[in-house]
C-alpha cells in the first residue's frame, strides 16, 4: 500500500504542505477563498515540527495495527481492508478523543468547528498523489509503496 | 605579430575572386583504371561520362589522365591556364627560377561549338632545380610554387603538376572538353572524369574538376558540410586553400594524410569517412584502439556531408562514399579493369557485362592498385574503345586475361578484419 514518507534532511519548513492540506479539506477547495472565508475552521491533517534548521512534516502513518482503531469506542475509526487507509467516519465519531490519547505520532487533532470529531490524514484517497506530497517544493515528502520494493527483496513483511 | 589585417594570409581580393567559384554542385564522376598498367584511349572514359550528360549543366567538365606522357615519365608535367599573355610571361619567369624547362607547348585542342573562348592552355615538362634546403622535400617546393602562382599571379592557374599525368578541364560538358582536348588520342592506364552542375552561372575553367596537385587528382560529387573544419585543419599544416572548393580541401587532406603523415592508403577511409562510434564500440579491442586514436587525432579531417570522390594518383585509383552514403557510387570489375561511376549506366556502356558490379557501402573505399611492372607484351590494338558483350572475344585480342581472380579486392569493410 502506498504511504507518505519524508526525507527529513530536505524539509525546508515552508509549511506549504499544511496550507495545501487545509485547502484540500476546505469546502471551496480554492486557496484564497478557503483561507479568507473558512480560515478559522480548516485544520491541516499534516503537521510541521521545527526547531532551528531541523524540521519535518508528519501525518498519520495508517498503521497496520492502528492503536487509534483499537481505542475507538464508537467504531468511527476504521482501517479499510484493501486500501489500508485509516479514516474517521464523522457521523459515528462522538469526540471522546481516545484516538488522540493513543496515537504515538500525535497526528490526530480535535476538530471543534462543528460537531466535535477527530481530524486526521485520509491520504487524499481521491487524488493521484496526496496534496502535501504534490506541493512539497523540495520533494521531501514522497508517496510510494516501500513494501512493493521490498516485497521482491525481503518478501511479504505483513504480520 | 598577430596583426589584425593579416588574419587570413592571402590577400583579400584573390580569396574573394576565387571563392565566388565555390559553387555547391551536384555532378557526375567516372573513373577507369587498368591494374596491369595497360594504357587505353581516353575515348572509353569520354563515352562513359557522356552517358551522365543529365548530371551536369555544361558549366564544368574535366579529365585526369595517368600514363599519357611516357616519354617524360620521371619529370613534372605542368598544365597551366592563362587569361592573357602577361600572366603567361610572369608565370614562365617564375617557372624558370625554380625549374629547368625540358619542353613546353600549347596543349593541342580543336574548335568545338560547345566550348566558348577558352583561355590559353600550355603544358610544360620540367625538372626541378632541387635548390630547396634539406628539410623541405621537392614536393613541398612544388606545392608552395603552385600556391604562389594560383594566388599571386592574376590570370594564371596551375591545373595539374604531376608526373606522367595531366588534367584537362574547362567550362563545358565533359564530352565536349574531351573532344576539345582530343583526349581520344591519348592513352593512359588511369582516367577519371567529372561533369559539373554548379547552381549559378559563373563558369570558370580553373574551378572545374578534377582538382590537381602533384600526382593527385580529385573529382567529387556532393558538398562537404565540414569544409570549414577541414580547411582550417589543413591550414594548420601549411596548406592554403586558395580556391576554397571542396575538391581542393580534399586533395590537400589526401596529400597531408598519405604523403606527409604517411598513413597507408588502405586506412584513409577510416579518417575521411570514419566509422560511427556505435560501430567502433562493437569492434574487437585492438581495432577499437586504432579507430579511437584516428578519430581523436584526425577528427577534423572527417569529411562530413554527402560526397562521392574518385582520387587519381600515380599508382592507384581510390573511390570513397560518405559514411552514410548520401551520394551514389557504383563499382565494377572486368579483368584488370576497375570502373567507378556515379551511375551504373556509364559502366554498362563501356563494359556490357563486368565480372562483378556492386554498390560500395557508406565509408567503404574501392581501391584499384596499379601493379608496378609494365606488361611487356606490346599491345598493338590498344584501342579497347568498346569491350563488347562477349568476354571471350576480349580474351582473344589479349587485352584481358581472365584467369587472374581479382575476386574480392572489392574494397573491404573494416568489420572484416
Amino acid at each position: 500500500m502506498k504511504r507518505i514518507y519524508i526525507q527529513e534532511e530536505y524539509c525546508i519548513g515552508c509549511r506549504l504542505c499544511e496550507i495545501y492540506c487545509q485547502v484540500k479539506h476546505s469546502k471551496s477547495k480554492k486557496i484564497i477563498k478557503a483561507f479568507k472565508e473558512e480560515m478559522v475552521d480548516i485544520l491541516p491533517r499534516v503537521l510541521v515540527e521545527e526547531i532551528g534548521y531541523n524540521s519535518f512534516a508528519i501525518q498519520c502513518r495508517h498503521c497496520s495495527d492502528a492503536p487509534c482503531v483499537e481505542a475507538c469506542i464508537s467504531g468511527a475509526m476504521q482501517k479499510n481492508k484493501n486500501t489500508g487507509v485509516v479514516t474517521c467516519n464523522e457521523d459515528k465519531c462522538v469526540g471522546c478523543w481516545s484516538c488522540i490519547m493513543v496515537c504515538p505520532y500525535g497526528v490526530i487533532k480535535r476538530d471543534l468547528s462543528g460537531k466535535k470529531i477527530a481530524s486526521k490524514c485520509d491520504l487524499c484517497i481521491d487524488e493521484e498523489i496526496p496534496v502535501c506530497v504534490q506541493n512539497c517544493p523540495n520533494e521531501a515528502l514522497k508517496f510510494m509503496d516501500k513494501d512493493a520494493k521490498e516485497k521482491n527483496l525481503v518478501g511479504n513483511k505483513g504480520g | 605579430m598577430n596583426g589584425i589585417n593579416n588574419i587570413n594570409k592571402n590577400n583579400k581580393d584573390t580569396q574573394e575572386y576565387f571563392s565566388r567559384f565555390r559553387i555547391p554542385s551536384g555532378c557526375a564522376v567516372f573513373g577507369i583504371v587498368n591494374e596491369a598498367r595497360e594504357r587505353f584511349s581516353g575515348q572509353m572514359v569520354m563515352d562513359g561520362i557522356s552517358v551522365m550528360h543529365e548530371r551536369s549543366n555544361g558549366l564544368g567538365g574535366g579529365f585526369a589522365a595517368y600514363g599519357i606522357y611516357p616519354e617524360f615519365k620521371d619529370d613534372r608535367a605542368f598544365h597551366i591556364l592563362y587569361d592573357d599573355a602577361e600572366a603567361k610571361r610572369q608565370t614562365e619567369d617564375e617557372i624558370a627560377l625554380s625549374f629547368k624547362i625540358l619542353f613546353s607547348e600549347e596543349i593541342p585542342t580543336t574548335k568545338i561549338s560547345g566550348i566558348v573562348n577558352p583561355p590559353m592552355i600550355y603544358r610544360y615538362f620540367l625538372k626541378s632545380k632541387g635548390n630547396g634546403d634539406t628539410f623541405t622535400t621537392e614536393e613541398d617546393l612544388i606545392v608552395d610554387f603552385i600556391m604562389h602562382v594560383n594566388r599571386d599571379i592574376r590570370g594564371a592557374f596551375v591545373v595539374s603538376s604531376g608526373k606522367n599525368m595531366g588534367i584537362f578541364k574547362g567550362v563545358g560538358f565533359p564530352e565536349d572538353i574531351g573532344r576539345f582536348f582530343k583526349l581520344d588520342q591519348y592513352k593512359g592506364y588511369l582516367w577519371t572524369s567529372h561533369g559539373r552542375f554548379p547552381t549559378n552561372s559563373a563558369g570558370w575553367w580553373g574551378g572545374a574538376h578534377p582538382f590537381g596537385l602533384l600526382d593527385w587528382s580529385v573529382v567529387h560529387n556532393g558538398e562537404i558540410s565540414s569544409f570549414g573544419t577541414n580547411k582550417r585543419f589543413v591550414s594548420g599544416f601549411g596548406y592554403e586553400c586558395t580556391l576554397s572548393t571542396d575538391t581542393e580541401v580534399i586533395t590537400y587532406l589526401l596529400d597531408l594524410l598519405v604523403r606527409k603523415q604517411k598513413i597507408d592508403i588502405e586506412l584513409i577511409h577510416l579518417v575521411l569517412a570514419s566509422p560511427l562510434w556505435e560501430e567502433i564500440e562493437r569492434m574487437p579491442e585492438d581495432n577499437r584502439e586504432i579507430l579511437k586514436s584516428l578519430r581523436i587525432l584526425y577528427g577534423s579531417a572527417l569529411l562530413n556531408g554527402p560526397f562521392s570522390i574518385i582520387v587519381g594518383s600515380g599508382n592507384f585509383m581510390y573511390a570513397l562514399n560518405d559514411r552514410i552514403k548520401l551520394r551514389p557510387l557504383v563499382a565494377a570489375r572486368k579483368g584488370e579493369y576497375l570502373f567507378i561511376s556515379s551511375e551504373e549506366a556509364p559502366i554498362r556502356k563501356v563494359c556490357v557485362s563486368p565480372d562483378r558490379l556492386w554498390h560500395p557501402d557508406g565509408g567503404e573505399p574501392v581501391i584499384g592498385i596499379v601493379r608496378k611492372e609494365e606488361i611487356k607484351k606490346d599491345m598493338k590494338s590498344a584501342q579497347a574503345t568498346q569491350i563488347d558483350e562477349k568476354p571471350e572475344r576480349l580474351v582473344k585480342i589479349g587485352i584481358v586475361s581472365l584467369n587472374k581472380s581479382q575476386g574480392d579486392l572489392n574494397g573491404f569493410k573494416i568489420k572484416a578484419i
Binding site: 515540527e49 526547531i51 492503536p67 483499537e70 481516545s98 490519547m101 504515538p104 500525535g106 480535535r110 513483511k157 | -
Partner: protein, 460 residues
C-alpha cells in the same frame, strides 16, 4: 494448528448438541475483537457468541453519550450487522451463562441449554458494585443492595445500555432537574458529563478527598471540581450516603455521612465495577477479583481464555496482574486471545491505565500511574500548572521512563506520551522538553524520533 473438524462444518448451521469450536461469552470489545481475529486465522471454525443483553452490540463507554443525546440507538453499535454475517459469527442474544464445567468443557445457560466447547473465551466484562445502604420509611425493606435496588424508583446504576435507557426515560417522565451521583470516580464523572451536557444539576458524593481520585491528583481534580461548582453543581467530598429515604416506592432523599439531609428524586450508584464472573464456580478457575490470565490470555485451565474487563492481566507498569477495565486494552486482549485460540501465537505485551474524558468543555487525559508525587522514592515529576486557563500538565518519571501523565485543558498530541510509556523509552536526554506545552516528536530522543518520523508506522 487447524482445528480438526473444519472440513465437515463449513457453513452448515450449527446444531446445538455438537461440540463448538470456539465459544465466546460476551459481545463487546474483547469478545468481538477475539471473534474477528479467530475468523481471520481459521476460515472454517464455528464461532458462537453468547450475550445476556438484548442488543446486537454496543460500546459501554458510549452509553453516557447516548444519555447526553449525542448518539441515538441505531448508531450506537460499533460493529454493524454485516460484521457478523461476513465473519459468520453466530450471535445468541438474551443468553446469560449460569455455570461452566471447566473439566468436561461445557457450560449451562439460564434457559438450561448445554453448550460443549473445544475452546472458550470468557469476555463477560464488568458488573456495577452496589453498596449496602440503610433505608428509612419504605416499610417493605430496611436497606438496599445489589438485589433489590432496582425495585426502588429513581435508583439506578449506569454501566449498560439498559440502565441508560431506563434513566433517560425516567428523567423525561419525571422531569428531573437534579440528580445525585454516589461515586466521583470514572463512571460517576462519565454520567456527570452526560447530565451536565443536558443542563441538569448534579450532586456528586465521593468517599475520597477528591473526584477521579484514582486517576487525578489534587491539582487536576481541583480544576474539574471548580468547573463543576461554577456550573452550579456541587461535590461532597469525604462523604457517602448513610440513609436513603423512600416514599411510595420512590427515592425522595438521603442523609449524608456528615449528617446533611438532601432531597433527591434520582440517584445514580457509581461506586465502581467488578469483573462479572459470578457464573464461575470458585476454584474452577484461578481468580481474585478478575480471572487471572497470562500474557497469552490463557486462564489456569487449558483451552479456556479470558479477556477484557473481566480479567486481571499483565500490567506493564506494576509488573503484576491487575484489572484495568478500559476499552483499548479489552480490544487488544481480545485480539491476542483470538489469535492464540486459533492456534497461532501472539503475546499480549501488557497494558496500563488510560482515560480520556471531557467535562464542561475541559478535555482531560490521564494515563499510567498518576497519583503519586515526588515524595515517592525514585520518582521525578514535571509540572506545568496554569489554574486560570484550566491548564495542567504533569509527567511522572521513574528511572528515566515515563510512568504517568495527566493532561488537563491541552490534550494535543497526548498519544506521544502513551507511545513513550508503551515503548518504555529512556527520556533522560530530553527531560527538559517533556512537559512543554508544544511538546512534539521533534523533542523526542533521536532514535525514537527517527523511527517515528521516517519509520513505517506500527507493524504487527
Amino acid at each position: 494448528m487447524k482445528s480438526k473438524n473444519n472440513n465437515r462444518k463449513n457453513n452448515k448451521t450449527f446444531e446445538d448438541n455438537e461440540t463448538i469450536d470456539y465459544l465466546i461469552i460476551g459481545n463487546s470489545a474483547a469478545g468481538l475483537a477475539a471473534a474477528e481475529s479467530i475468523r481471520e486465522l481459521d476460515r472454517a471454525g464455528e464461532i458462537i457468541i453468547l450475550t445476556a443483553e438484548n442488543y446486537l452490540n454496543y460500546s459501554k463507554p458510549m452509553i453516557t453519550y447516548f444519555l447526553a443525546g449525542a448518539v441515538n440507538l441505531d448508531m450506537i453499535h460499533f460493529k454493524d450487522e454485516k460484521f457478523y454475517t461476513d465473519n459468520r459469527l453466530d450471535i445468541r442474544l438474551n443468553t446469560r451463562v449460569k455455570s461452566i464445567d471447566t473439566n468436561k468443557m461445557f457450560l449451562i445457560t439460564d434457559d438450561g441449554k448445554r453448550y460443549e466447547f473445544r475452546k472458550l473465551l470468557i469476555a463477560s466484562g464488568g458488573r456495577p458494585i452496589i453498596p449496602k445502604i440503610k433505608v428509612v420509611g419504605a416499610g417493605s425493606f430496611d436497606f438496599i443492595d445489589g438485589t433489590n435496588y432496582e425495585k426502588v424508583g429513581g435508583i439506578f446504576t449506569l454501566t449498560n445500555l439498559e440502565d441508560a435507557i431506563r434513566v433517560k426515560n425516567y428523567i423525561e417522565k419525571n422531569d428531573i432537574k437534579n440528580i445525585s451521583i454516589l461515586g466521583g470516580g470514572l463512571i460517576g464523572l462519565k454520567a456527570a458529563e452526560a447530565f451536565l451536557e443536558k443542563g441538569i444539576d448534579i450532586n456528586i458524593i465521593e468517599l475520597a478527598d477528591r473526584i477521579l481520585a484514582t486517576t487525578f491528583d489534587r491539582e487536576a481534580s481541583g480544576i474539574i471540581e471548580r468547573k463543576i461548582k461554577s456550573a452550579g453543581s456541587n461535590i461532597y467530598r469525604n462523604n457517602t450516603i448513610e440513609e436513603i429515604y423512600i416514599e411510595s416506592g420512590k427515592i425522595t432523599g438521603y442523609k449524608l455521612k456528615d449528617g446533611r439531609k438532601m432531597e433527591c428524586s434520582l440517584l445514580i450508584i457509581a461506586v465502581g465495577v467488578n469483573p462479572d464472573a459470578s457464573f464461575i464456580e470458585s476454584g474452577s478457575l484461578d481468580m481474585v477479583k478478575g480471572i487471572i490470565v497470562d500474557d497469552h490470555m490463557r486462564t489456569s485451565v487449558k483451552n479456556i481464555y479470558a479477556a477484557g474487563d473481566v480479567v486481571e492481566g499483565p500490567d506493564m507498569l506494576s509488573g503484576g496482574k491487575r484489572n484495568i477495565a478500559i476499552w483499548p486494552l479489552a480490544v487488544r486482549q481480545g485480539t491476542a486471545a483470538g489469535v492464540n485460540m486459533a492456534g497461532r501465537n501472539k503475546r499480549y505485551g501488557g497494558g496500563f491505565f488510560m482515560n480520556s474524558v471531557e467535562l464542561l468543555g475541559i478535555p482531560s487525559i490521564s494515563m499510567g500511574i498518576t497519583n503519586i508525587g515526588e515524595e515517592a522514592e525514585g520518582i521525578e515529576v514535571l509540572r506545568d500548572f496554569d489554574a486560570d486557563r484550566n491548564m495542567y500538565r504533569k509527567v511522572i518519571i521513574k528511572n528515566n521512563r515515563i510512568i504517568g501523565v495527566i493532561l488537563i485543558g491541552n490534550i494535543e498530541r497526548a498519544g506521544i506520551y502513551s507511545g513513550l510509556i508503551r515503548n518504555e523509552i529512556d527520556i533522560s536526554s530530553v527531560k527538559e522538553n517533556i512537559s512543554r506545552e508544544d511538546f512534539g516528536i521533534i523533542h523526542l530522543p533521536t532514535d525514537y524520533k527517527k523511527h517515528l518520523v521516517v519509520g513505517e508506522g506500527i507493524e504487527v
